[in-house]
């Protein structure tokens, strides 16, 4: 049985999705990560002044260098540089889910808004192969700690999925079982490519 193709999707493809991407790839999963937002946003010097990048253009490395030159202390202190450093070692740049033409078996989103966007995207896509894809949402707050915790939850879930005999048949029960353990609300939907 080939490995499941897993996509982890967050808003900017920086923190939560990359954390999980990192962990899962380390554990040997066939995983990719994406963002769904309009742009890649990173916290800036003030709440109203985020650093905004375009998906698919700026690499993590470029961001890293830019921010480092902007205010090394601030971005070291808030962990952004550290995060970017990790990210650039995983892949070159943030990717937008909507642009990805690849087919996945499971798409895991990290917050409801992202989940909605993913569903919306699938809805707007033109279905062709009718291959089902399962979209699962696990709520994870957008900060470093929660991202780490969330990554482990996702890892746990992916293990369950990977080990399932018949994923599609077992998925419902599996999620029902997983939900109370994760102590988070799980959303789940099936879409088609």
């Amino acid at each position: 049985m080939p490995k499941l193709k897993i996509a982890i999707v967050c808003s900017s493809n920086q923190n939560r999705s990359m954390e999980a991407h990192y962990l899962l790839s380390k554990k040997g999963f066939n995983v990719q990560s994406f963002g769904t937002g309009a742009n890649v946003k990173l916290p800036g010097s003030a709440p109203d002044k985020p650093n905004v990048y375009e998906f698919g253009k700026t690499t993590y490395d470029e961001m890293y260098r830019e921010l480092k030159s902007k205010d090394k202390d601030l971005y070291t202190q808030n962990g952004i540089l550290n995060m970017l450093d990790r990210n650039r070692r995983i892949k070159s740049r943030p990717e937008k889910f909507q642009h990805c033409k690849e087919q996945f078996d499971v798409v895991i989103t990290v917050e409801e808004r992202v989940y909605d966007q993913v569903l919306e995207d699938f809805n707007n896509r033109e279905q062709d192969s009718q291959t089902p894809v399962h979209v699962i949402n696990i709520e994870i707050q957008d900060n470093h700690d929660e991202a780490t915790l969330g990554a482990f939850l996702i890892y746990e879930l992916c293990q369950l999925l990977e080990n399932a005999q018949d994923l599609e048949d077992d998925l419902d029960d599996l999620l029902q079982e997983f939900e109370p353990r994760a102590e988070r609300d799980i959303l789940h939907s099936v879409c088609f490519y």
Binding site: D172, L187, V190, F192
Partner: protein, 1272 residues
Amino acid sequence: MSEESSSSRRSVAGQFFTEDEGTESSANTTSEKVVELINQTQLLTKDNQKLANLKQVQELIVNKEPALLDNFLDEVLQFQHDKSADVRRFVIGFMEERGNKKDNEILCTVAPNLNMMLSDPEQHIIVTKKVILCNAQLLKVTVKWLITAKRVGDEMVDVWDIMWEMRDKIVTMLDSENDGIRTHAIKYVESAVIMFSVRTPDSEVPKKAEGDASLDQIPDEHKCLQASKLRGEGINCLDQLLKLLASPSITSVNLTACMGALTTISKQRPAFMSRVITAFETLHVNLPPTLAKSQVSSVRKSLKLQLFSLLRLPSSADIRPNIKLLLNDLGATDNEIAKNLPRVSSSSKRPRQDDDNDKGRSSKKTKTSKAIGKILDEEDEPTTSSRGRSTPTQVASKPTTTVVKPVTKLTMVDILSEEIQPLLGIVENVANLVLISMVTLPETMPPQFQATYTPIAAAGTGNQINHLARMMSSQFVAAGVKPKDSEKLALIEEANQEKKEEPKPSKPEIRGISVVGAGEESSGKKKPTQTQVSKGVKRIKQFRLNEITKPLEPEVASDLVTTAIKRIIEAGKASKHGGAAKDRVKILTALATQFGGDLTEVLREYMLEDLRSNSDIAFAWLYQEYANLRGYIPQFSEEDVGIERYDHLLCAMLDSLLTRSDQRDGLFTRLVMEAPIITDNAIKVIRKFCEDEVHFFSGMHALRELILKRPADIQNYLMELLDLTYHERTEVRSQSIQYVKRLYDRQDLRDTIETYATGCLKTLLKPSPTPQLIERLSSAEDQRLAHKTWIEECIKMCLYLYLALLPVNHKLIHELANVYVDTGSPIKRIVLRVLEAPVRGIGMSSPELLKFVENCPKGAETLVTRMLHILTDKAPPSPDLVKRVRDLYNRRVSDVRFLIPVLIGLEKTEVIEALPKLIKLNPGVVKEVFHRLLMSHQGDNSAGQSPLTPAELLIALHNIDSAKCDMKSIIKATSLCFNEKNIYTQEVLAVVLQQLMEQTPLPILLMRTVIQSLTMYPKLSGFIMNILRRLIEKSVWTQPKVWEGFIKCCERTQPQSYQVLLQLPPPQLRSVFSMSPGLRKPLLEHVRSFTEHQQAHIPAPILKILEAEDSGDRTLHEKQAIRHRLEPVQRRGSEDSSQNLQKTKLLQDKLNQEKRLQEPQWKEKLEKEKRMREEEMRRKEKRDAESEERKRRKESDSRDREDSKRRRSNNGRGSDSPSMRIKQEPIDPDDQPSHSPSVRIKQEPIDPDDQRSEKSDEGRPSKRRSSRLSKS
């Protein structure tokens, strides 16, 4: 395919390959590579390697040399039989890939293979899924191919048939057990629906699917594709999907997939949109109950998403209000909705919504009516309210609906909701709806409701009412209610007929748990029958009937009902034969219970006629009434159901049983036990049973069963039973007391019973019986008496229960004593009389009783005495009891009577000490005392062994100090002893006499006893002679009374006493003669009969005294006269000794005078006599020794027996010596040669008891005999 054929195929491919080898090198190398890869793959074992190889093959064929496909297709297809599911999946992918390409002919090969794989029940799930996916693609291709083909060959028809067959299989897979397969099937059905339906201008077709086939492209006369059949199939597929969507057990994944599929269908085929939306509406309010909370939110989210995407479609314009309402319900904000509206219509919609919202703030009533107005306007129906209020916005909104309307097909839901809408405008209706819904609300909020509930944003607005109407109508439709507007319905049906199918998808049955719809659904069902609200709906079904019927006159109606009931009753036999007996009972009882009145009467009459055979009705009815009483069945009449009806029924049944004379009371018991409630009146009837002569037993039994088995009302029943314990009738009373006694063992009832019994007892303290008590007396005479004072009956009634409990709980004795002390003598008397059985029941070992005796309350002495008597009547008193009584006697109660019961338990000395007092009591009591003391020696040992042997008792009596007790009492007491001949045998008396004689001074009554013994046992005379002789030795004459008795004794024992008299010293002899002159002559004659020699032994003074009379012959008759006078006195002497004494004294004086006159002759005579006697004595002694020796030898055996017997009867208390002495100093054998032996021989059988005890002792007689022999 077999291995051989595959290898031959390969060789064919090989040939092809060799043929082409020279022509094209690139092709060559490619095909060469392909062959190599395939060969390799055949040999490989690992799945992933196989896959990698096959992928390479695919790559080569597809990208480099498509021409090679034909050559290698079969080779690749071989792998569909591979063991690995993934390999097989790949093969399918390969087929799909190929099929999609232009060379459609390949389908001919692929289709059968696919079908084969699909049909395999053992097929791996992922393969099946892949086949389904593949099928979806290939179906399109096939159809396209068939349509475009210039000529439809047979092989194409075959392919189509196979595709069609597979379609059937896949559609059925919507019910597969596997979630994933269902999901795939859903997608397949989606594409089938799209393909088998007509593409319209407003269809929104994705660019990729632009070229896909659809129904409209099928030419009219196609060889195998028939448009009508396909359309039907398409609609069938849609129905399947809708059915799945409404299935209560659908999983959330399937639900999502299904919603997605339906949305896609709606997009591409707007004709189906209204049905889809209706289905969504139903789904929204009827989410499957199996979903978990998060699944519900997932489903709602995706439903929202789907609805938004539908909202955006231009084709959804006419149905948009519905979608919007649904979205509102799903929690979408107006903003979101607005955002998703197509730009064109947004301008016209926005203001109206704002308008609605603004109005929502105003008062509800106007708002509602306005909303109704609006709706009615929209529906273009006549209205009574607020037509004039139509605002420009409403008008503006009008066109959108009216314009689109003709285009849309009306559904049943639409029509129904139109009808419901105006009705919802009436406030009363809404209120009723809410009220009814409240009743049917579940106890707790279902989780689904909690999860899905969104506050209704626009409550009361037209939109909301509109939506509510729609929701209700979708429920109605689901429940099968049809709109009244038959015209429109007909239209729909017509339209449906055109389509040759049903107007609506078969709606699911109403689900067990619905979410939001719970209230509406149930109220919706009730409405037609009950509330005004739904008049419109109700009319559909029942309107005409109500119109044409008139209510019957009440009399006629009730008459009809009654006769109907009667007919049912009469049909008893028929129903039994027909097997409807149960139903008949059910109908009868249900009717009687629900409608009461006359029906009850009729049925009761029938039932009671023969309750036994109608018991089934009886029980059914009783339960029915009970259920009614408890409100378990819906109420039809207004009247309040009280317990009266149940009560009345139950009592009537019981009463009817009471009046029956037969004894079989099984039904009664059953009725009592099985009745759900026993009412107070029923208890009264049961009581009647208890008091009834015939039925009392079953009544009591039922009562007891109630107590045992109905703990809830136990106190009630118990009181009833207790009340019966002082019933006048003995059998009732004793039965109930017996039950109470048994119940008394139960700790929980104990207190009640005890309190009750004590209460009863204490009524005795009242000056006269209580009215309740008096009531119980049956005779009027008794009642009259009882009013004045306590009569025996009443007293006993109060005592029965208490006394019955006494043996169970000894503690009660104290309270009894307390009451006893305080009551009057009549009551006391009765108490003492009835005490026997209970006291016996207690027994003397009871610690409570002992305690009671110990602390005997003042005034209760008689009670204690009575108890003691009862206790010791049959059994010896226990040491404990004796101790207590003794203490009590010593401490407080000096009445000696107190001791009587425990007499035999006392010490010997104590008894002796008490004797003087005891014998002074009245004769009856004394008798009792002696009875107690002697009884044990009569062989009746059950009452214990008296501390005194009979001999000791008699001796004790003799030794009573005359200062303590008058002689008369003692004499009476001794005579009591003598009366007991069985006890005071001659042996016993001998022992007594022997012992008494030993005493000094001699007891006054000694000689009296001697004489009495002699009277009783004349055979004792020998022994008595001995005694007399000993008495002479003891100078008996020193004690005048005894001396007097001595003389009397001598008188009686003539002639044996002559010898004794001769031994008296002369002065005493003279005294004898002076007191009893009649003795002298016989004695003298006796002496004269002696031989000379013998006479010589008699001392002269004696002879002289003897002969003194002869000289004084002249005085003889004078003396005789004196004697005559004396005799009667003597005879009476025992009765009046003192008187006697005086008389004898007088006599003596007289005699002394005479003596003085004849002194000389007297002396002479006496001396001669003495001489004679002395001589005779010597001779006799010699003879004695000889005969004694002889006799002893002869009688030793019998004597031994006699001895041992005596010893035993003395029980070793006294010494054996007296009896032994008797034998060692035998009575003079010459005087009574024949007497002694005969006495002894005869004595043996005298006392049968002794004989018995002898026998029982047979174990050791030889030993005793030998010891006896050695002694002798």
